[in-house]
Structure formats: C-alpha cells, structure tokens
Symmetry: D2
Subunit: 352 residues, 4 copies
C-alpha cells in the first residue's frame, strides 16, 4: 500500500486527488524499467512539465544542490536563465550521458524545433550499483526516449520502477515515490506535487517514529563509516502557482527539510538535488513573451510560505511511498528487502 493507505499521515495539509506530481495539471510522467535480472535493475523516469513544445514554451524553474556528490546535468543554465526547456530525466549514475543525448535528440526532433541548435538537457541520477551492474551502462538513448514518449497524466507507478528500479534507501528497497498537496483556498488554493528518486541513508524515521533504530538497521550502527558514494536523492517539484524562478529555488530548497524528516544524514557520498518548476500559464516563457517586455504574474514573497510547507510534507510522503511500494529485489552484489510493513506498521500504531 502507499503510506497514506497504510494509515500514515504526514503533515497538516491535504493531498490532491491522486496524491501525485500529476495532480499538477499538465504534468506527465513516463517510466521505462529495463528487463530485470540479477545483473540489470535500472531504468529511466521522465517528467514533462507540460504537453506543448517545451523548448519553445519554457517553464520557470529553480534548482538547489544540498549535497552535490552527484552528476546532475543541466543545472548551471537552469540557474542562470531560471528555466527548463526539455523533459526532466532521471536514471542511474553512469547513464547520465545516454539520458542527456535522448533529451537532446527528442528536442531536436519536435515539430517547430527545426532551427534549434542549443538544448539544455536536464538529467538527475542516483547510484543503483548494489542491485545493478552499473558499469555495464545498460540504459540506451532509445530507452530514455521511450520514457519520454510514454509520459502520461494520471497515477504514477512507484517503488522499484523506472529510475528507481535498483535504488535503495535506509537499507531497504526504495525507488520512485510521489505525493502532492492542495492548499486550502485561503492559502491560495495552489497544487504542488513531488516526485522523488530515493536512494539514500541515515536513520529511517516514519512520521517521526525512529523505525530504523527499532528495526536495528541504520547508518553508523557499527560505528564504521561504511557508506559509499552510492547514496542520493533527486526531487522534482511541480506547482501551478505563478512563481518566479527565485521563489521556485526557495521551494526546491524546502524539499530537503522533508528529506531530513525521513532521517537522512545527508552523508558525504550523497547527491541530493531538487528542481522545482511552475506550470502556470501566467509565467510560462512562451515564444511571444521571449520577444520583448511582457506581462507575467507573480506570487509575492509574503504569500509563499504555505507552498514551502506543502513541499516539505509532499517530499516526506513521496519518500515513504517509494519505500512502501517497493518490492524486494535481488541484485548482483546483494538483495534489497522491501520494508517489512508487518513489523513497521505496528511500530507506527504504537507511537500514535
């Protein structure tokens, strides 16, 4: 079950109807999981901010690296220009190049882009090297293009799927998770959705309960630094609120507060990145608006705090969904067990 179906409530705000990033109208998600074996547990997840020509009608965006032991591609241009112009792809650490090539090729091939000669591909990654023979670099450009082409609205598959096929968090199988929040009308009524690729460690904490300690499985337990460079979390945040790129960056930064609440220790080897974009038409950088002085809407600084709270909550819940929905996966260097909900749910119940 997803966390909320299992009775876990995170925060004080309500989720949207799907409790997914696709609650933000227009956002679509596509995932390709490579045929699974002990050697291959990897894939690609694609998030498209809207269904039009992403390059011609760019979306404002903000980016934050909390701990940047990672290979996120495309970040400097996002920050400089405050915008995203391609699908956002997630994959494994050693296939960033293939995903990047796919984003470029796909963009060049879109109708209307015949004269495009510069494309800022955006690719995040985490390291699935425990379960996946990552040195094999299995993901192809074609795989990544299929992920883009398969993007749909509606519910999003979670757990050991797409770019989460082989990822592990807190010693358990994790992967892709998503969640959303819909603000009450008095706070603006905006929708904000989050998708995570969870692959990090620390002391697993669910709704405040230190489950990792109670299960006897957490970092530093052996008083040995045994974490390696294979942790990471990439967080993608969508909202329909008309935010400037500066305020989108601030939204992105709050995602790490949600990660913190799950018990992350943000270790040296973790690549922790967040990218937030707005789907609001009133801030979209259309061909027309990019020609000359144009009018845009702006939610002022003083009204943004509820979106920060929504980001924190949805990020925390997205991680829990990644863990709750993942199944046990056997890989080439070990096995990642699913979170033992039979033990965990009673712990959570006892604490309430």
């Amino acid at each position: 079950p997803r966390a909320r179906e299992a009775g876990v409530t995170v925060g004080i705000l309500e989720p949207g109807p799907l409790n997914a990033i696709t609650d933000v109208a227009g956002v679509t998600v596509g995932q390709v999981t490579l045929p699974r074996s002990r050697a291959v547990n990897t894939g690609v997840t694609a998030i498209l901010p809207h269904g039009g020509n992403l390059f011609q009608d760019k979306v404002p965006a903000g980016f934050v690296a909390y701990n940047a032991f990672g290979k996120f591609m495309g970040s400097t241009q996002i920050v400089e220009l405050g915008e995203v112009e391609t699908p956002i792809l997630l994959t494994n650490t050693l296939n960033v190049a293939e995903a990047g090539a796919a984003a470029v090729e796909w963009t060049l091939a879109q109708p209307g882009n015949e004269d495009v000669r510069s494309v800022n591909a955006v690719v995040g990654e985490t390291n699935d090297g425990l379960l996946n023979v990552i040195r094999g670099r299995h993901v192809t450009i074609a795989d990544a293009r299929r992920a883009i082409d398969s993007a749909r609205s509606g519910p999003v598959a979670e757990g050991a799927v797409g770019a989460g096929a082989g990822t592990v968090a807190f010693g358990f199988k994790a992967g892709i998770g998503t969640a959303s929040r819909k603000l009450p009308a008095a706070l603006g009524g905006w929708t904000l959705g989050v998708l995570v690729q969870a692959n990090y460690g620390g002391v697993l904490t669910i709704a405040g309960v230190p489950v990792g300690v109670q299960l006897g499985r957490y970092d530093y337990r052996q008083q040995v630094e045994d974490r390696k460079a294979d942790g990471s979390v990439v967080i993608v945040i969508a909202t329909d609120a008309p935010l400037s790129d500066r305020n989108l960056r601030r939204v992105a930064e709050r995602a790490f507060a949600g990660i913190a609440r799950t018990g992350s220790s943000f270790s040296n080897g973790s690549g922790d990145y967040a990218l937030a974009f707005s789907t609001a038409q009133a801030v979209r950088r259309t061909t027309d608006r990019r020609k000359d002085v144009a009018s845009v809407q702006d939610l002022p600084n003083d009204r943004i705090s509820p979106l920060f709270q929504a980001t924190i909550e949805a990020t925390e819940e997205a991680v829990l969904n990644a863990l709750f929905k993942a199944h046990t996966v056997e890989g080439h260097r070990g096995t990642a067990d699913a979170l033992p909900l039979d033990k965990v749910l009673p712990m959570l119940k006892k604490a309430r």
Copy 2:
C-alpha cells in the same frame, strides 16, 4: 530541565560532558541580558572560537544561509576567505549595528592589533519584536562588549537569556539552547557543539512527536498566513575536527536538517543562518601560516559524514533545550508561555 534530563533522547550519538558548545575545547560563551521589563526583553550572546588573539590567529569557517530573510553581518568575507577573525555575536534584528561596532572596537583594542585597519565583524540576529520594543534599539555597544568580555568556558545558560531573552519558537518562549556530540573513536573521536538562537515557527515536533498539533498550536492552523518577518534561527557550530572551510560549510548546511526535524516550515519571513568553525590548531590560520606556504591537516571528504550526523542531532537537541529551559515572558505586545512540560512530557512518553 534540559531535554535530555527530561528523558528526551535525540539521535544515536552521545553528547559531550556538558552537552554544550563549550565541550569543544577553547570555545567560550558570554551573554548579557538587558534588565527586563515589559518593554525590554533582549540581549547579546557572544561566542569566541578560542582564547587567543582571534584576529591574528583566525579560524577556518563555513557559512550557509538557508532562508535569508535576515541581517547576518560579515558573511561575504567569511565565504571568500573561509575564516572568522572576531567574536561571533548574536542579538536582535535592529541592533546588529551596535553589536557590529562592538566587535570592531573590541578587536581594535586587543593587544597586538594596534595596526589593524580592517575587521570583519560577524553578527547574527533574530527578531524579538513581540516581547521587546525592538524599535527602541536598546542594546548598546557597551552591552555587546560586556558579552564578549564575560565569555567563559563551562556550562552555558539557556532559554530566555542573552540574545534569546525575547525570542519565541513555535508560539512558545524559546531563546538560547546548546548541545554537543562526541564521536566514538572509530568515527574519529571528534567533538562538535552547537548553539542556537531559536525564534521560528512551524509545527513543533519533539523527538518525532507532533507536539504542536497535539497542543493545537501550530502555523497555518487558521489557514491564514499570519507569520510575519519575525521568525529566524541562527546556529553556530564548533568542532575540534581539522576541517577545511569547504567542509565546514557542508557541516553548517546540515544544521538545517536538525531544524527541519523540530518542525520548522522555513517560512518566507525566517532568517535561517548557520556558521561553523574549527578550533583545531592544525588548521588555525596563525600569523606564521598566513605568511607563506604552510602545512595544514585535513579530514578528507570520505571521513566527514559522522560529523554531519552529529550536527543534525546536536542542532535538534539545542533547539529543544532552548524551549525546555525558557520561562514564560510577558512583553509589550503579548506573552510567550513556556512550553507546558506537564502536558508535553506525557505526550512524549506515550509515543515511546
């Protein structure tokens, strides 16, 4: 009682003997609380990295602004040069200038500094305008100099004292808090201490228990954005580990994970800053080392993660100490109640 005395345990690492920033050898703290009235609830807290000439023998330092609705003074030079050369002062928002002047005057007056013509004063602040007539700008240069001069090792006063005399967190009286962690020998054996000036909001969470919700007192409860620009938290972190300024910045960044776990929503109006420094002689920027190529020690990236965990835990516990030790204060625009431990402790007990 402090949180730990009341039975609250945070994290998996052990505190130092004082469970205070002063567990880091050489660090001293001085605090001046202005004579209290309904109109005046403010003061100054000073942290000195070592007992020598701070300007001549600078300490490497790292700085992070998580949400920078605040008036932190001295940050750009800290980042550029990677060092602190004065006492670190905390006070209220509208007296940053006076504290800064005090740091300058004190530095100019130290023996050996007769030729000094440039001083980078470091001042953090939060807004105590609920309890304090902050527009009165009560803190004088002399007050701030007394805080520096009174700095001592040993236990640190917590709660409504010094720069925390008038601050409020999660709707309760808060103020200054401190805590520390001593790593086991296998993880390096380093000590890391934290001091916070806590003055922010969100949904109070103690050791994972959503106490704020259970008490019915938390932000957004009225579905109204009623938070104003008076939240903030400033976090000072000391360690005896031989860290580069880059890794000190990374340590500073982890403090916000501890803040996140207390339930902060990092709202727009919050000024959330962290400053970390190393007291290790092997990295100190002495007059000799600043003359020519010199040898320094360096704890490598791969060994730093336990210090990140220590920072997260000590920061969370320092905030709890600020809340647990503060007493009710009546001020000019309202009263900030002490945290009702009679209600809170049973909540915590029930959750365990």
Copy 3:
C-alpha cells in the same frame, strides 16, 4: 575635467544627459564629506532608488560579490528576497555599523513605517586607511543620516567626496565616480547609470592604454606583494528597465568586466561588490503587489544583452571619472596624488 570632457571615450554606446546615475529618473544621491584634516578624510555617500517610501515600495535588486574581502552589509536578504528596501549607503570599512544604524533609524522614522520592526540596511565600504585615521571611526550615525537627507537629483559630485573622500585607486587619489548609458530605441531605449566608490589597484588602463606602466606606477612592480587588505570597489547600478531580480544580478556581474578594463587585478585584499536595482514602476514591489498575485513586467533574457554592454561601459567610465575628478589629498600615512593629467592625456592622444 571628467574623462569625456578630456576627450576620453569609453565604448560604443551614448551616455545620458548628465552621464550620471541620476540620469535614471527618480534616483537621488546625497554625500557628506567630514571636515578634512590630515587625520580625517572620509565620509558617506547615499543612493536612494526613488523618492517614495522605500520600505513600503521596495525595488527589485541583484547583488554580486566578485572578491569579497569586504564588509558589505545586507547582502543575504537582498539575494533571498530579490529586493532593496532602504537607502544604499557607502562609507569606510570601520564605520559600516554607523551607516547601518543610520539606515535603520531613518527607515523607522519615515511616515508610514510606524509598525516596521525589521529593516535590511544596505551598506558598502572601502578602506580609506591610508589618508584617514580609520581606527578613529569618525563617521557618526548623524553624518550618515545627513547623507540620506541631502540626496538630490541632478549632477553628482565626483572624486574626493563623500565615501570617496579618502580612497585611492592605482596609487592615485580616486573616490566617487559616476556615468550612464542611454540605449538607442532599437535596443530598448533604457537608461542605466552607475556610481562607484573606487579604491583598488592593478595596472591602470585608460581606454585600453596601459597608463600605469607608462607612468611607472603599478602593482607587482617591485615584484613584491605589497598590497594589503585596503583595496576595494563598490558599484551601484540603477536602471529603468523592467528587470527581474535574477537579471539584475546578471547586470551587477557585468560591472566587473568594466572594472577589469581599468586594469584591476582583483587582488586578495579587495572587496569588490556590485548591486543593481530597477526603478521601473512595473516591477516595483508596492504594498499592493506584495499582498497577493500581481502583474509585473519583465524584460526577457533574450533582450538583456545591450544592458550588459551598457553596464560594462558605464562602470569603466565611472572609475575614470573618479580618478579624473579627484584632487591630491594629504593624509596621516601618506599623500595620494591626483592623476597627472598633464602626462596622461598626451599618452592617450598618442595611442589614438
């Protein structure tokens, strides 16, 4: 004479009518020079972005530290919120606190600000310790308030005046300088003005001619690092173009290209900061706009490059004006000669 009056042309764009920051409508400048002696050569320069209530009607702003061996106050909030809400003050290194206190007091005292309890004072500085007994900390809060109160539109005094009373550049007396550019209509027709407080070193280059070498006066000439921590340049840029805070940051960054062309070596001891703001009504953060979603204008990324060129040119010319207009000043540790135009102008003529 100013540089242009002496026949020096910088760049390819035309200046505004005053060739000053005050060509940007609404911008005013006030300067206080302390009564001069061998011991006292210092002062304050104030720039006001508009004539209304700056705190209630904030201006979007961008900030860049190129080399941050300096004490610029207020930068973190400018970056986080993308705005300036007070006068911008310049003074000497050890009087930043007094200027900051003045900005706070002045803001609290403005009609309409009776409930203000948080003010982000913005103060830049350079070190005039060669000509001024800087340890005397001569500038008072009252001096700085007078600078604000005396702000006027129209021509701006240059050279050894205000915050430039005691500053030195390239070994010659420098100080305050200003210049502007007015874009042709086809490039937007915007006006952009710059004011500098010049106090730095390198190899003086005027319109490309290495005058410093020809005069035999430049850094590293003795192959000795004899530069100390007293160089710096602070650059304030105003424009009437409707820019986002992100694009104002980009404008600010270009100022250093202008500084580079004057021969700066951006040495370790230099505090090199730039702050850019927009006076456009269409982006002003008025009380109304700060209440809820509001409409603002935005000059898109693709149309901004001419403003970058304007910034580079106006900054270079402003520095030249600071040098050309300064007179010789005798101070307590030495004398700073005026640039010997009798020798320099022929060098420039020969090169053309």
Copy 4:
C-alpha cells in the same frame, strides 16, 4: 603567428617556456579534429591534469560560471567536493553527452578502477553551429576517447583545431588558444597556464586597442540584438601552486577579467565557464590522503594575488592566440574569416 610572435605583449608578467598550459608540469593536452567539410567543423580537446590515475589521485579544483547559458557537465560535484577526477573535455554544445560518456568509459577502463561505480565526467562546450551542422551530432564517444588517448605534453595546437575547429569570436574564426605565466621567485615562482575554447562576441580589443571598432565589425553595430545563443568561452587553468579548492575557485573567477579585456560583452547567450586545478603533489588527493586526516600544503590568501594577475594575463593572451592562429573556415551557414593581421598589426603598432 602567435600574438607574442607578432609583437603583442599582454600584461607585466613573463610567460613560461612554451607559453602554454603544458608549461605546468604533468599537464597534457589531446585534440581530435573531425575530418573537415562544409558540414563538419568540430572536434574534441582533452586536458589531463596529470599522468597518473586521475580517479584515484584526484586534483583540487575550483569552478565558476560567469554567464551560464551553457551545458557544462560535472560542475556541481566539483564545487561540493572541490576536486576533479577525470580528464577535462571540451567539445560542441550538442555532443556533451558523447564526451561525457567517453570520460566515464575511459575512467572505468583504467587499471586500478575495476571497482569504480561513480564517475564525475567534466565536459565544457561552445556552440559551433555557424560552421558545423551541429544538429548532426557528429562527435562520437570514440572520437572523444581518442582525444584523451592522444594527450601529450609539449606545444599545443591552436586556432581551428579540436573543440575549436568550428568556433568563432568577435566575428572572426577563433578556436583553441593557450598561454602561461611564470611568476618571479619573489612572488612564489609558480607556473600558471590557461587554455581557452573561444567562441564569443563583443568589441574585439587587442592589448587595449579597440580593433573591432576600427575594423567596423562589432556587436550592436546595427543597433540590433542579433547575437544568439551560440557564444561562449570555456577556460581551463592549471597551476603548480599548492592551492585549496577555495582559492582555485578564486583563480577561476579572475579568468573573466582577462576575457573582459578582450572586449567581451558577456551577452545573454554566452556560456562562460572557468575551471582551475592544482597539480601540486602537496595538495593532490591521493588514495592515502583520502583515507584519514592527512597533511597538505596551502598557499595562504595573503600570497595569492600574483596568481590572480597571472590568470588575467594568460587568459587574455590565450584568446589572442586562438584568434591569431586560426585560419579562415567555410561552413554550412557561412564563413568565418581569419583575423586580418595585415590590417590589425598596423593598428596595434600605431597605438604603441
């Protein structure tokens, strides 16, 4: 001829014996130019910081994006960890992915890297779309691997070669250029070398002489913003000085002062990046040093300024070399003429 051979002197410091990045001992450069046609004018340039196992023995590094309309790969990890662990590759904008894949594959294949599962590929690019059918994405992984494998010490080919095969600067054919400076013993005796991939615009200025204006070829001449997103410059800086990653970042930042002096307007569409690394054994992050607290050397802040000056000068001269050495190239959308030295050299002579 190279600029210096043609009588152009830049700055006040002396070059090294080769006046190239390879003056820094251990640094090698490899270049692959694809077989040339009207449709194909592109290639790859590889810089290797040392001849050992780059992944096991990493070099400290600093990175700066001045204007980040570009696709630089690998920057976030460089900044977080302060190091480079692969060859540094330059290519065209739409082949970053292929160069990145090559850096990954080459690293995985090195002896001693059999267990490596995370590689931070570093790739810079500029847009050669005027002369090259960039949408054809001609560069293959094999091409990029050949560039790495062909890296050698000694003189470096300049102009229309490698990653500079198709680039254009100031309207003239440019490409790869290099230069160096050797500090006098009194300033430390260090060597610093620069390599640029020059592809940007503005008003060409050679040794201070506004050659672009005199030739009647410069940006904004038509008072039309006709610059597109195809400008850029990537700058790689090597030094044998024992610098921290923080001070390497500061070195990198100075490169843009050199670019400024060539007349760059740092337009919106430019991707201007600099990466600096140290080859000093005393700061190399060897397998041993990465295990536990280790001793490293550090050139202090107070001694670094001459390296800043060296960076500025070598960068300016490297750009001139790129222009002076490039030959006319006919491409698919136009022709880029070589700089007409027959006209330019007399202009320079006249100005001296």
